[in-house]
Structure formats: C-alpha cells, structure tokens
C-alpha cells in the first residue's frame, strides 16, 4: 500500500491525466469578470475559506461513507448536500466533468475498487465524491484528503493566471503557499466530519455569478 502522503502527491500532480488542465477553478471567470491582479491573493484566500471547504468536506464525508458502508446508500444525500452548497450550475457541471476524469483514472489504477466502480455507475459524480472514493480505496488519511482538495483548487486557479494575465511564475508559487496556509486552521476539524449536515455551508456568490457569466462567453481558454 502506498503511503497516504505519496497518494496525495500523485493526485495533486498536474501531470495526472484527469482533464484538470482545461479548468481554472474559477480564475478565468473571475478575471473576465473584472478581478484585478492585485486582488488575486485575496480572491484565493477567500475561495480557500469558503467554496474550497465545501469541496473538501464533501470529499471527507464521501470517504467516510465508502469506508464504513458496503452499499454506499448515503451517497445520494451527500451529493444533494454538495449541490445545495454549490448553487452555480456551471460549477457543478465542471465538478462533474472532473469527477469523470478522476473516475477514469481510478478505474484503471484500482480496477477492483467497489467504491470507484460505484462512482462510475453514477455516470456524472462530482469530483469530491470520486476523490472520497479513491481516498477510501487507497486508505488516504482524511486530513491529507482535505489538504489535497485545498491544494488542487488553489494551484489550479493560481497557475491559470500564467495563461490569462502573464506574471512571473515564481510569484504564483507564493500565492499558492499563502492560500494553503489560510486553510490550515480548518483542516483538522474538517477531517473529522462524517455526515452531509456537517459539511460547511459556505458560498461565494460573486464567484458563482462570474462562473455563470463565463459559461456563456464565446472566448474561453478554460472550462470554468
């Protein structure tokens, strides 16, 4: 069994073929919506404290479900809880595309996993649910799972800036580290939750509005 930390590195690696490079985790919508470069670090910090915690919490609860129940009957309620906290259809759609990408990799890497097979049956599972299934399969620690989701969201958004509003890539690295630090005080508590009700109900209405506007724009580099 591969160590939980190694698994997190594998899943966070941009070279993992999940289609992640076609997403900007809300950055392209934000910049096209008028976010200024100087405000990007604050945007990342705000994102980390809000919608990213919803994603991470959903993944942790999914992991718990897949580990503790042979027939993961609670997944429907979990997905409903995630959807209620993710009001933008464009963002839900983007998450489900990423979910299919992770499911594809998961099916190849862990072919005997019932949890990942269950995700495949869902056809369009949200990314957080699939990450939970992979974490349950590979025995990834819940705190590592939270940090993975945070890192993935922050890195995806920050590195998209290099394509959208070119800047010294080293600056972006600092943004990523700082935003991950913002999440650190929440990691332990979030890693312990087991029910959909415990998932933080935090929204980012401005970012959700930008995501909706972006989804009907003609000139996009990224899916969302």
């Amino acid at each position: 069994m591969v160590d939980s930390g190694t698994l997190a590195m594998l899943l966070a690696d941009a070279r993992l073929p999940t289609g992640g490079h076609t997403h900007s985790a809300g950055m392209e919508p934000a910049l096209l919506g008028g976010l200024k470069r100087d405000d990007i670090p604050s945007f990342l910090a705000g994102k980390t404290r809000s919608t990213t915690l919803v994603e991470a919490g959903t993944a942790v609860v999914a992991r718990h479900h897949f580990i503790s129940e042979a027939a993961p009957s609670g997944i429907d309620a979990l997905i409903a809880a995630w959807a209620a906290r993710t009001p933008s259809p464009a963002l839900r759609d983007a998450s489900r595309l990423l979910g299919r990408g992770y499911t594809r990799i998961g099916r190849t890497v862990w072919p005997s996993s019932a949890s990942i097979a269950f995700c495949a049956q869902l056809r369009r599972p949200p990314r957080a649910v699939v990450l939970g299934a992979i974490a349950a399969t590979a025995l990834m620690k819940p705190a590592d799972l939270v940090r993975l989701v945070v890192y993935e969201e922050v890195q995806n958004a920050a590195s998209a800036v290099l394509k959208l509003d070119p800047i010294d890539p080293a600056t972006v690295v600092t943004w990523v580290l700082n935003a991950c630090e913002v999440a650190e005080p929440f990691v332990h508590q979030l890693s312990l939750i087991t029910t959909p009700e415990a998932i933080p109900a935090l929204g980012a209405p401005q970012a959700e509005g930008w995501a909706e506007a972006h989804s009907v724009m003609k000139k996009r580099l990224f899916r969302a």
Binding site: H21, T22, S24, K218, L221
Partner: protein, 261 residues
C-alpha cells in the same frame, strides 16, 4: 487500445497540423462529401474555445448540435496527447447523444509540427500541411508528417502564387513517409476530394473489420546530434521506447529514419 474485432463505437479520426493549414476547411469538406452516407460528429479544440466550432456550424455542413468545442486551457498539444481526458469525455458524450455515429472527427488546436494525437484518443489521424506554409516543410519531417496515417498537402490551388512546386512537395513528403499515403488537396479539385473521401471510407472499413491498429506517430521530431567524428546524425526515438525527455540515447546511428514495427 481500441478493440480488435467489430468495434462497438464510432471511428475516432484526428485532424492535426499547424495553425492555418486548413484543418477546419478539410473537416467541412469531409462533412460535405460524406455527410449524406455517414453519421458524423465533430469535436474542435481551438485556443479560444469555439472559433473553429463556429466556423463549422456557420458552414452549414452538419447539424450544429453535432459540433462540440472543447476547452484546452491554452495547451492544445496536451489535450490531444498527454491528457486526452477532456476530448475523450466529449467524444463519449457526442456518441451517446447521437448514437449511433460512424465517425467522430476530432480537430486539434493548431500547433507546431510535433503535435500529434495519442492513440488513447484517436484510431487514425490525418496531418495537414499547406503549400503556403512553404515547399520545404514536408522535407523537415516530424512525427505528424512522417507517421500520421495520412498526410494532406492542402491548398494546392495556391501553389503558383507562393512559388511552390506541388509535385516536389508531395515527392518530399512521400519520401519522408516511406510510402505512407499523401494526398495533394484543393477544394477546387474534385479529383483530390474524391481521393480524400475514398481514404476515409477505406479507413472506416479497416477499423470496422479490425484490421487497422492505431499508430502513435510519436511526440518528438527527428533531431540531430554530433557523433564522435563531429558528423551530424539525424535520428528519431521510436515511440514505444520514447519517454519524452528521457534521453538515454540508445541511438542506432543510422541516417535513415527508424521505422516503427
């Protein structure tokens, strides 16, 4: 790897080649000449999402619903080679929404000469050059030119205006391809369109009968190194052993381009 016998899904045909060589026009041509007899779908990969999709929709050659644009995050080469997920999902969706389809055509975002499709995404691929890009391009080689299933030298009607001899360019290409097919195409030359149409139909038949195996043209262009005597040696990495930047240099010091088995 696609199944050997009686594949259950559509043929996935990639169209690659540098920017401006006429990939979208070639797809429009295919839709016009095959749209009556085959059920087609198209996926485009432009830099800015839907330029190519809009061009094709406005050409009126196919039901606009059957033309989908995929975002590539400004990395069109990644989307057809290192991480084909977005295109695979789009192909699956298109096939599911319009089942059954005969061919799903996937247009790469225009990139350089080294950008070719992974066999994880397409069953066969056409690489497109044009005479206006220069008569010497075919001679430069590269994975797409040398090893795509078909090389198209496009816009031959422009040759007199750009000082290119089509026969020489096709001959250079044929030499670089060691006999693999080359079509000199012009949308004003019906005979060339008929050749293209026939090639696609034959590829579809070969795919369906299980006699065609997807080829990987390989990610790297032939390049040269100096040997011990200071002579330039041109070589390629065979796609099966090539890992991109892993230069362990087990060269066969051959001036011929190694052929894939």
């Amino acid at each position: 790897m696609p199944e050997k016998n009686a594949p259950s899904r559509a043929l996935r045909l990639g169209i690659a080649g540098p920017v401006g060589t006429g990939k979208s026009s070639l797809i429009a041509l295919l839709c016009r000449s095959l749209g009556e007899e085959l059920r087609l779908g198209v996926i485009t990969n432009d830099i800015y999402t839907d330029e190519d999709a809009r061009f094709l929709r406005s050409a009126g050659v196919l039901d606009p619903e059957r033309i989908r644009a995929v975002e590539t995050g400004a990395c069109p080469h990644t989307a057809i080679r290192d991480d084909v997920t977005a295109n695979l999902l789009a192909a699956e969706d298109l096939e599911a929404d319009f089942a059954p389809l005969d061919i799903v055509i996937i247009e790469s975002g225009g990139d350089n000469l080294t950008a070719t499709f992974s066999p994880a995404l397409v069953d066969a691929q056409i690489f497109v050059l044009d005479v206006a890009g220069g008569g010497d391009v075919a001679r430069k080689g590269g994975p797409g030119i040398s090893r795509a299933d078909l090389l198209v030298v496009n816009k031959t009607d422009l040759a007199p205006y750009v000082g290119v001899d089509v026969a020489t360019m096709v001959s250079d290409a044929t030499h670089a391809r060691e006999g693999r097919p080359v079509i000199a195409l012009s949308r004003t030359d019906d005979n060339s369109i008929a050749q293209l149409r026939l090639w696609v139909l034959e590829m579809l038949a070969a795919y369906r009968s299980g006699t065609h195996s997807p080829q990987d043209p390989g990610p790297m262009a032939p390049h040269s190194h100096l040997d011990e005597g200071g002579q330039a040696v041109i070589h390629t990495h065979s796609p099966s052993s090539d890992h991109g930047h892993d230069h362990d240099h087990d060269h066969d010091h051959d001036h011929d381009h190694p052929v894939r088995a």
